[in-house]
Subunit: 525 residues, 2 copies
């Protein structure tokens, strides 16, 4: 299968008539065929109308049908074979192993949501039986389940062309929740997007689902995306990208007559606290782990550890020396897009030009047009506290070490941090008291807290939270990775005194779906 | 205890210096002492700062401490005795039995949340144990729990001076979630608000909690409320009131740099579908039930059945005649405030003046200054479909019967409805097919669906949903009544590879809190 430059509206293939997107091979700077002409607002409206129509059927598909559909999407993506891997490599500059791993993660994620759908926890069934004898008034029969919100708009991210893109986490969780999905493809990897979109489209057809369950739109600039978010049929938005992009979509959503949930994952510098005992005992090993995490995938992970916080002294000096050596030795890597590369260069330049910041090391320079030279900087705790610019995300392999005067200043730095996806403690047994003091601050500021690891691995599982307080995301109440992500696309409905013939399977007395329920506030399974 | 005209900021009693609020006895139109001078922005900021400080301690109170606190709030409210009941009656015009019932509901709600806190379902604990042998990478230990969002702003509602006011549902669920609460009192019942506020304040002191756990603010106009919502320390907003008031707060929240959840419950006309068999078999009884629900508490319930939808014919004519008789016989009742009364008069006048609307009946006129004369109108299905004004909420005992040409038009009317708190089916066995056809439409448009009851009773239990799609609320993902309301003030946090010494009790392996957990996606309790 080769990319054809088409958008997918339900089962149709559409060639737009607006400004053209063309992918760039970031390793060469060359444009890649085919062209992707953008859609107009009418096409966006058509996709939304199909999604709305499909919702009527799709929202009440059986758990088995929906789970099988998610599994079919995974199989269809796998069936794309090397064509997908090669196209994704060319469009992103990412190495083969990384793309293959990401494909595995993407398909694993779809299969996880299939199992989540079957298990039915997401229905959050609650039954409050009648209390006919209660005084002064009997209680009637009340039952609650969760249902899908409606059609969901998903924006593909630039940095994970598979796992956070067309059939990535947001799409998988929305489909699992019973919501049709209209994807706005990221312009950085249109061919990859089209191939995956055709796999989803094929799965829709194979499973005999209404075509509007899935559409894939292309558009240069922001018009298609904004029209999508403004469309009255869209009931929620999932986005992963820049702070400015996320906020623009949020503003568009806020201008709607009907407010809708916007799950924008935006920026995070993922602070790592180097606690004294750990730093003293194993500063060298921590430095190695840090450099590995910092430079992984040219630093283009939302969870890249961009900020380290330690207490001035010999151990931190030794750490800086070791980390500096590691960064110096780090090879240049091709960044995902010319735009990301330019923003990275600007960010590093701004830090280098900041009088409060000292350059510790630079990585190896590359020869390709969009290669990222890693960078490590340092600044004092007091300067960090007084200069908001030092907290700005530099998307790429750039890190800043904050040298605090003492533990109290470290605490103040923690208090000063904006919302984050993650916060990490490098700690040994002797650091427990210091960690306990930091933990409540970090809980308020981050969605995930790690000890003695690095934040760049985001496990797809049940307990994961990939989210966090603003500006990490626009809505800290949910996660975009892991099975709990299904909750973001659901709402509760209560049924009072309904005859058995009107109750969905999830709510029937004899629990035919065998789901865990709260009966009168107690788990019955 | 008598009202003193004070605001409560933590344990302090503050007399504001801004424009004065004075309650009106709606039955006489007379002003009630004392004056409540409004606060300024500094006082709002002070309450928020205290709340922020208190959050650091309160968020991690043990389940037992927090539950006991909620129970103490209930006891302190009960200890106010007749003084509270009498003041609330004077300020609202509601009869004694209704205020006593509402006090019981309010205290019962606080005690329900105490039991919810102890049960610990709200923690939504998820554990994904390590998989050290997994290939290609081992899985590390991951644990998730929910924590409070931070200080919450709660706006008292006019129509339930106890159950949706100072210590009402939003306050109870926020406190249960570990969030300090800053209440903006409704200006219609300041004395009631102060008395209840002092009960909460006393409970804070008795339980040795930090004073900022609760504050109560008075302010004329919208300045205090808007300053509260704009305050950067506030992390969520609970509101029950008018559409214009709710939307104004939503806009204020949207203008913040940090987006926060706004749970505004606004307007709902609570459609009731009169299905043919039921109408034929028991139209008279349905008419009686309807009139009782319509006129209950002068119609000032969010769940008042303001819209009935039936199919033209003899049975509907008979129903209209019976309901008209009932309305005609209904006594005038004092409305809650002069403002509500004026809005009701305007709404009824607009319907009466609408050429598409026919007046079926008016209730008895009253002699007091703010008495509500019930009203029943009718319009055709096609007129309803073409005139949005017929869907506007008239807050009070006014109902509109939509006469559809046939079942298909009834279906179109259902499709045309805005979001609602409730939707009701009056149905008999023979109506099952018709009900099945309507149900999916109603699920998309309402938070609660009833059969053969009336929506005005909102049970405080586990399965209740008092919420629904816009404009019923600004966020359909939650409920404001029932134990699930605690979820609106929580967010998930994930802990990766934390040493046991850093794990909160909720997350420890041996489950000392004895809470239901998802372990590797399976319920273990």
């Amino acid at each position: 299968m080769t990319p054809q430059g088409i958008s997918l509206i339900g089962q149709q293939a559409i060639t737009g008539g607006q400004a053209v997107i063309r992918a760039i091979d970031p390793s060469t700077g060359e444009a890649l065929a085919p062209d992707y002409p953008g859609l107009d607002r009418d096409a966006v409206a058509q996709a939304c109308e199909l999604a709305e129509t499909a919702f009527a059927t799709y929202r009440e598909t059986s758990l088995e049908v929906r789970a099988t559909f998610l599994e079919t999407v995974a199989s269809e993506i796998e069936a794309l074979g090397d064509a997908l891997v090669e196209r994704a490599m060319t469009e992103t500059g990412l190495p083969q192993a990384r793309i293959q791993g990401e494909r595995g993660r993407t398909c694993g994620q779809l299969r996880l949501f299939a199992s989540v759908v079957r298990a039915g926890e997401w229905l959050e069934v609650r039954l409050d039986p009648t209390l006919p004898e209660r005084e002064p008034m009997p209680r009637v029969d009340l039952r609650q389940r969760h249902v899908g919100l409606g059609p969901v708009a998903v924006f593909g991210a630039s940095n994970f062309p598979l796992a956070f893109s067309v059939a990535g986490g947001d799409t998988a969780s929305a489909l699992a929740a019973g919501c049709p999905v209209v994807v706005k493809a990221h312009s950085a990897h249109p061919g990859t997007s089209e191939l995956v979109g055709r796999a989803v489209q094929a799965a829709v057809a194979k499973c005999d689902l209404p075509e509007g369950v899935f559409s894939l739109l292309f558009g240069a600039g922001r018009e298609v995306g904004q029209a999508l978010v403004a469309d009255p049929r869209i009931q929620a938005v999932g986005f992963t990208g820049s702070r400015s992009g996320g906020l623009a979509l949020l503003r568009t959503a806020q201008a709607r007559p009907q407010p809708i949930p916007v799950y924008a994952e935006m920026s995070s510098i993922n602070p790592v606290f180097l606690l004294p005992e750990a730093l003293k005992a194993r500063g060298q090993a921590i430095a190695e782990g840090f450099v590995g995490s910092l430079t992984m995938g040219a630093g283009q992970f939302c969870t890249n550890p961009g900020l380290l916080i330690g207490i001035k002294g010999e151990a931190l000096d030794a750490f800086l020396a070791a980390a500096g050596e590691g960064v110096k030795g780090s090879a240049a890597q091709t960044m995902l897009t010319p735009g990301i590369h330019a923003a990275y260069q600007d960010g590093v330049k701004a830090l280098a030009a900041n009088a409060k910041v000292r350059e510790v090391a630079r990585g190896q320079a590359g020869s390709g047009p969009h290669e990222c030279q890693a960078a490590l900087f340092a600044a004092s705790g007091s300067d960090f506290l007084s200069d908001e610019a030092l907290q700005a995300e530099v998307f790429g392999a750039s890190g800043l070490v904050v040298e605090c005067a003492d533990a109290d200043e470290m605490q103040r730095v923690a208090e000063h941090l904006e919302g984050q996806l993650t916060a990490t403690l490098q700690m040994d047994d002797g650091d427990l008291a210091a960690a306990q003091r930091l933990l409540p601050l970090l809980e308020r500021r981050a969605g995930r807290i790690l000890a003695n690891g690095w934040p760049t691995g985001v496990e797809v599982c049940h307990a994961m939270v990939h989210g966090g307080p603003f500006p990490a995301t626009s809505d800290a109440r949910t996660t975009s990775v892991g099975s709990a992500a299904i909750q973001r696309f659901l709402r509760p409905v209560c049924y009072q005194n309904l005859p058995a013939g009107l109750l969905s399977e999830a709510l029937q007395d004899d629990n035919p779906l065998n789901v865990s329920r709260l009966v009168d506030g107690q788990r019955d399974l």
